[in-house]
Symmetry: C2
């Protein structure tokens, strides 16, 4: 075959996914966010933007979307590698700043703390959470810079 | 005063805000998203990514963050204008597509349905929801194109 006759690599066909939510205004600064088959979540604005205290806000959904995606991507990758760990928890914080005429999130920092029992697994677990960070689809959908600062703890009896 | 001696306009000092969440892995593909003083939310991946059905996902948090921010910004602007309306509900959907080596949200469409009793308020309500869309800080923090498709209904007895 001449080079020009080499058949083109068949293209991988990637699926398109679609996610739906609903919201209903209740009264004052209170709404209920809904998603089919899930419990409803009462939402408001943060108190500093004259919202009702004690309710989830769009700002927290944004930060949690990134934080939750890091965990879920880690679980998927760790599962494929049969990597075991004892616990995973993280804290996350998002910085909202006024830039170029309006407020937006400029940075979200996620700090996972992953406990393992086998010291030899430290490298693999660290590589996996960093890989999860790179592959996180919410991070790819955010203009904020997302910083991952993981800590791997070896727990011995 | 010569032009060069005109004092510079004092800069408006914009505050910086910070939003914090936490997550704890429970078992399998299940975690609990937490925020101080709010009820915890059980989360997973979507079933198509091998998650547990019936739980909120990062994808839905992302879409709801945008949808909830549109409502909350509308409530703030309508309040300032003393604009009255009977009800507000919306549906939203986000398209997740594979682009440039990974999945990300390419578009989020929010469809608010706002009911009013005074037909004369239609224009002001429409202007206000479009303005809320422009000022939505989560939309500014998202790489997805956000499309707002509002409907204003006049309800007569």
């Amino acid at each position: 075959m001449t080079p020009s006759a080499i058949p083109l690599q068949p293209k991988v066909k990637y699926k398109k996914f679609n996610y739906k939510t609903e919201i209903e205004w209740k009264s004052g600064k209170r709404g209920e966010s809904k998603c089919a088959g899930r419990p409803g979540i009462l939402v408001s604005s943060p108190p500093e933007f004259r919202g009702e205290a004690g309710l989830w806000t769009p700002e927290e959904f944004y930060v949690s979307a990134i934080e939750t995606c890091a965990l879920m991507t880690f679980l998927a990758l760790a599962g494929r590698k049969n990597l075991s760990f004892l616990s995973y928890r993280s804290s996350a914080e998002g910085d909202l700043e006024f830039v170029e005429g309006g407020y937006r999130f400029t940075r979200v920092t996620v700090r996972p703390v992953i406990s393992i029992s086998d010291p030899e697994a430290r490298r693999a677990v660290l590589d996996t959470i960093m890989d999860a960070h790179k592959k996180c689809l919410i991070t790819r959908s955010a203009t904020a810079e997302v910083v991952l600062a993981p800590e791997i703890r070896v727990e011995t009896d």
